[in-house]
């Protein structure tokens, strides 16, 4: 069988075997509801507590500051909607960026329809928020700043510490969507002055359907789901015990080898970037050259369209993703690529490849060879390339 080269780890990751193994008993023998009084339930409760401790420790947070949710999108929705509502007497202005995940952008649009005002900050050509622009956007009625830790498409890391310090100085709540960064980049909520942080299990070899919102102690935030005393009455519903256990295991695993794993990924990522830029003409790297997630590479190949490229890569067993309109279900390409200033046709020809620890140099050599072949072929079929070559003559 042809080897599958899975390079879409920003979309989701494979649940690690030891994570699956840790979860299994909580489907079968330890199936009790953590809220029940009998001994069977105590096992479940203990497991949830332990996972919470592991996660809190990884962030430099206290255990009671971690609130499990059904995923990153829920955590984002909760943070923004509840913070806006809780602090609306203080002001109705929110600041975020143009390159957030839709879980943030669409929630902001919803808030705008409900009487809030939102400033969407521009980013520079690498996708980085400019702190001085943020400073200028702050108003007396600004109650919340939400800036993602790392971008999901182009991998760019944001100046979170500076943003956190600024927010703290001005007395404004600071939320960060760390779905892509958690488990890949060291994060300390105190050091970065983070008040709320969203994360998800399946981006770090944990299970899908589990995430959390970190909420700094003392912060007034209404309950998101009503109906029970779970998660300190802030998020009702019987705990997803296997999911929480798996998430805890995944975090333990990701933090145990973070340095060596990310160093390996960084080396391979740079190898991939260098070869692609050198060997495929009319190609650009999207996002910052070095200040990016260790496993993220994002290219634009001129004169071709991303979906065609993905299908042809898939035929060779290579999984990637694109910011082209055809893969987003709309007519517009990725909002992130447009925000960094790419013209539409260049944004349509984008390819994101995100590594994991299993990817080898040999895999990347294969990927580069396939890319060269496929891109040449697609260009030979492209009227844009034909026009370009004609003009060049």
């Amino acid at each position: 069988m042809k080897r599958l080269i899975y390079m879409d780890n920003a979309a989701t990751t494979k649940t690690a075997p030891e994570v699956v193994e840790a979860m299994l008993p909580y489907f079968s023998e330890h199936f009790g509801n953590p809220s029940s009084v009998y001994g069977l339930a105590a096992e479940s409760k203990k497991a949830v507590t332990e996972a919470r401790e592991t996660i809190a420790k990884a962030l430099g947070a206290a255990t009671e500051e971690i609130y499990f949710t059904a995923g990153g999108s829920e955590a984002d929705n909760w943070a923004l909607k509840a913070a806006a509502e809780s602090y609306r007497n203080k002001g109705k202005h929110i600041i975020t960026t143009k390159i957030e995940h839709h879980a943030i952008l669409h929630t902001c649009e919803w808030l705008e329809k409900n009487g809030f005002e939102v400033t969407y900050l521009n980013v520079d050509e690498n996708g980085v928020v400019k702190p001085d622009e943020l400073q200028r956007a702050i108003r007396p009625d600004t109650v919340l700043i939400s800036v993602m830790f790392a971008n999901n498409e182009i991998g760019t890391l944001q100046p979170i510490r500076e943003i956190g310090e600024l927010a703290r100085e001005k007395g404004i709540l600071f939320h960060t969507d760390a779905v892509q960064a958690f488990g890949h980049i060291p994060i300390d909520v105190d050091e970065y002055h983070i008040d709320m942080l969203s994360a998800s299990g399946h981006k770090l070899n944990g299970p899908k359907g589990i995430g959390f919102l970190y909420i700094r102690k003392g912060l007034k935030l209404r309950s998101f789901i009503h109906g029970g005393a779970q998660e300190r009455k802030r998020r009702a519903g019987t705990e997803n015990v296997p999911g929480i256990v798996g998430f805890g295991k995944a975090v333990e695993r990701a933090f145990a080898n973070m340095d060596s794993r990310t160093e390996q990924e960084r080396d391979l990522r740079d190898y991939l970037i260098e070869r692609v830029l050198k060997e495929i003409p009319y190609t650009r790297l999207n996002g910052h050259r070095t200040n990016r997630l260790p496993n993220n590479a994002n290219f634009s190949f001129q004169f071709i369209e991303g979906e065609s490229l993905l299908i042809m890569l898939d035929m060779e067993g290579i999984c990637g993703s694109s910011g082209s309109a055809c893969t987003s279900g709309s007519l517009d390409p990725s909002h992130v690529l447009l925000a960094i200033g790419l013209p539409h046709e260049i944004a349509h020809g984008s390819l994101r490849l995100t590594l994991n620890e299993e990817i080898t140099k040999e895999d990347l050599d294969f990927v580069v060879e396939q890319l060269k072949r496929i891109i040449e072929r697609l260009r030979s079929m492209s009227p844009l390339y034909e026009d370009f070559m004609r003009k060049a003559k």
Partner: protein, 147 residues
């Protein structure tokens, strides 16, 4: 996502290329939306399409519909070629996902644009043929996206 026929025409597109001194060339779509199709026709003195080639910038469905459209008009008279509708292209491909129906429309438009070019060059009128919408966007004057 795609039918076997679509995948076949995407993987092995028929009639890719250019025709030098073509009787008619039509280019439709725009780079902004991510689809551009160019069709070349070689039409003989009896108004029969002797050869047809295409070049496409676009998704899998855009390539497949271009390929199928060229197959459907090849060997036909220009009158018959006018009857190759987007529906005919879609049916020949065993259907397209709903979001890709516009690709088949683009294929029909590309054929019409090439026929229009031929008609103009030869000073003739083709019944039912309208002037194609010129939609090509060079991408030089990009305005900033408004949220």
């Amino acid at each position: 996502m795609y039918s076997e026929k679509v995948m076949d025409h995407f993987q092995n597109p028929r009639n890719v290329g250019e025709i030098e001194n073509a009787s008619g060339v039509g280019t439709v779509g725009n780079a902004k939306c991510g689809d551009i199709m160019r069709i070349y026709l070689d039409i003989d003195e009896n108004q029969v399409i002797q050869d047809c080639k295409f070049k496409t910038f676009g998704c899998g469905a855009a390539v497949a519909t271009s390929s199928m459209a060229t197959e459907l008009v090849k060997g036909k008279t220009i009158r018959e070629a006018m009857e190759v509708t987007n529906k005919a292209v879609m049916e020949a491909l065993d259907g397209l996902p709903p979001v890709k129906v516009h690709c088949s429309l683009l294929a029909e438009e590309a054929i019409h644009a090439a026929l229009w070019d031929y008609a103009e060059k030869n000073g003739i009128k083709i019944e039912g043929l309208e002037k194609p919408k010129s939609d090509i966007h060079e991408g030089e004057e990009e305005e900033e996206e408004v949220y």
